[in-house]
Symmetry: C2
Subunit: 423 residues, 2 copies
């Protein structure tokens, strides 16, 4: 039996309520395929002016949905018209039957919208290895929106949409911002899901970000990759990279920039959009860590003094993924020696005798040893908080590499969820 | 408070009782440095004919003991006379004070035995970041053997020695074998410790293997590295590589081979010794997994069809380290989709559509999907055992790479031990 789902103690106090965004329509459906009495199927319909960029899991065992979306992004040259998301079945490791099921649902969505099948992108998460039953999904596409989808945000139904893609998540993840786009104003809104099997190595989990700006695919892809490197690629729950990680960035094209068309991601008029995109993706990444399976604490790990940013990221992930660091955080144990261990095992360049560590802003170690007169009490007080900050300077000479990592702790809750329940 | 130490349910039924081995003497001491009422300090004294080989952690944060032993193995050209092991303090990340403490104890041991300080090797495990107090250790070296050390195996006190190096271990780890050495017979005996922070990436934890054979250092080093690759480098508890991993292989030189001196590890007269060494090191590696912190089950993972042996090892470790696989094993959940995920995340070459998985000898998946007519019941029965066998063929064309990995599961016990106790 699945354990009772308790909302993460780290959930944001308020769920964002984004305004409508021109150029798209959300269809929120309850297919009954795996879950009863809840929405579990989402169709995001995009205007024919839309452009879409995507990044996918680096897993060597990608799901049928990932295979199909990768191919369709290329064949449609990023001119996708729909993103179709089902919850509860990953359609991964399902062979020809899985590929066929993905193609069938894409074709049905294309028919509903009136576009070509190659303009449909798919994302599926849930159990691995079980054949996807298309019948309830095709029926839901025919029937259309679930009447019960909340009317409070009916213009775009963002909250309902974020809920419909959840599997083991305990809260819906969404956020929104506005930004300058030349002298126009555009909106950016993102939703995400993910709680376990989180250690993205390219994109992550599922995340879909939308803007009403008009942007060519090549620029969009560049913006997505850049923002992804500092957001979803910097979050971890359990070091287990999924077969299904997918992140799409769609621009509906409703708001055109004044003046010359945007042709490069380096166009200075994109500064506001870039900043908003980074904020949104980092916010969603942090929300995923906050909903890590069994999480009782959120770790934010700042790494500096590394050989380069990629090395800093790998060191930060070695800390955030270490079971011994994660259990120390869970137990509010100021056992900083485990952080030293994790830096050492990362394999990245680090100078032991110049290493410095702070916890909660308090210097713990520097120059390769504990600080003189170190007192544990203030650090132990910080360790009792729900949000733990760790800063490590790995002391590489002239090393300018930096990264910020979000990670959850490792608790009895994680064991209960994953040892007793087929996820 | 430390949790009550309960003997691992996976402990061997009988603790080995090796016979005496010519050319060495074990001094088992109770220093009182960290633990009370138990032996915690071991001096292994070697004849002046002895040769020693060593492998160490690849951690970038090696302990002072690892620094010293690495240097002394080189400066003494492998002609070490002593191995000194203290339990409860890793003397890692302790700066100049730690280096000095290591040197002081080495000098005292050298004085006791009558050798040069550079002929002493040191291994320390326990807490990271705390300065090693040398006083109780120097006193113990003066006082000598603990009179209470069990007299039942007094010739070499192997059992007492294996107990003296334990930290969070719940049982002493030792094993012994005899082998043909040309037409002579030699003995090989090994002891090891390790329970948490186990993911060796070169040597592992602490392991000391001894033989009475006479062998040059260069041959010994080759034999150790070869056997290490298939034993200690193939075991994992929690993916956390220690700062202190050390493995020594010492040959006391008491038994000389007949005929020409051995000059190469490829000498055919070493076949018996090689086989015995592989058996001993694999046996000790398996014992370490059996004593993994909180372990309730032992996984043996056989990987085949990989690009090469190193790739097979990394795939096996990705499976053995995956929190989602480990919790599925703990929960006796036949959730083989998590094995697919772990193969995918390893980053190694693998053919999804040719992948085959067996659990407990029962075929679960082949050709990239579940086997036709798959029945979970027999697999679920196997999953209830204490010893779980997983076999994965990753389907690389002409792939001959193979590895066998030993790993423990991830349980509430692991969380209790590591979230509540400073190890």
């Amino acid at each position: 039996m699945a354990p009772k789902i308790i909302r993460s103690p780290l959930a944001p106090k308020r769920i964002a309520k984004p305004k409508a965004l021109s150029g798209l329509r959300l269809h929120v459906m309850a297919s009954g395929a795996r879950y009863k009495r809840r929405d579990d199927f989402l169709l995001i319909e995009l205007n024919d002016t839309a452009t879409v960029a995507g990044v996918f899991t680096k897993s060597k065992m990608p799901s049928a949905a990932v295979d199909l979306s990768r191919a369709n992004l290329i064949s449609s040259k990023g001119r996708a018209r729909a993103i179709l998301v089902n919850a509860g079945n990953a359609n991964a490791f399902t062979g020809q039957a899985g590929a066929k099921a993905a193609a069938l649902t894409a074709t049905a969505a294309a028919k509903k919208i009136g576009c070509r099948a190659e303009q449909v992108l798919i994302a599926s998460t849930g159990v691995i290895g079980e054949t996807l039953e298309t019948k309830p999904l095709l029926k839901a596409l025919e029937t259309g929106d679930n009447k019960k989808a909340k009317k409070t945000d009916k213009e775009n139904k963002w909250q309902s949409a974020a809920r419909a893609i959840m599997t083991t998540d305990t809260f819906p993840k969404l956020t929104s911002a506005t930004a300058k786009f030349g002298n126009q104003t555009v909106t950016l809104t993102g939703i995400a899901k993910g709680s376990g099997m989180i250690a993205p190595d390219m994109a992550t989990m599922l995340a879909f970000i939308f803007t009403d700006a008009a942007l060519p695919v090549s620029v969009l892809q560049k913006l997505l990759q850049e923002a992804n490197a500092d957001s979803f690629n910097c979050v971890t729950v359990d070091s287990d990279t999924s077969t299904s990680d997918t992140c799409f960035l769609a621009a509906t094209g409703a708001v055109k920039i004044n003046g010359a068309a945007v042709k490069s991601a380096n166009d200075k008029r994109l500064a506001g959009v870039k900043k908003a995109l980074a904020d949104i993706m980092q916010n969603l990444a942090e929300q995923v860590a906050r909903d890590g399976e069994g999480a009782s604490k959120l770790m934010t790990i700042e790494v500096s003094g590394a050989e380069n940013d990629a090395a800093a990221r790998r060191i930060g992930l070695a800390i955030g993924n270490s079971p011994l660091v994660k259990t120390a955080i869970a137990g509010a144990d100021a056992n900083w020696g485990r952080i030293v261990m994790a830096v050492g095992k990362s394999g990245e360049k680090a100078e032991r005798d110049r290493l410095a560590i702070s916890i909660g802003g308090i210097k713990v170690a520097r120059g390769g040893k504990v600080v003189p007169g170190y007192k544990e009490a203030p650090v132990a007080r910080h360790m009792k908080n729900k949000e733990i900050s760790i800063a490590v300077n790995v002391g590489v000479k002239q090393g300018k590499g930096r990264a910020r990592i979000w990670a959850s702790d490792l608790t009895h809750g994680y064991i209960s969820i994953n040892a007793d329940y087929r996820s």
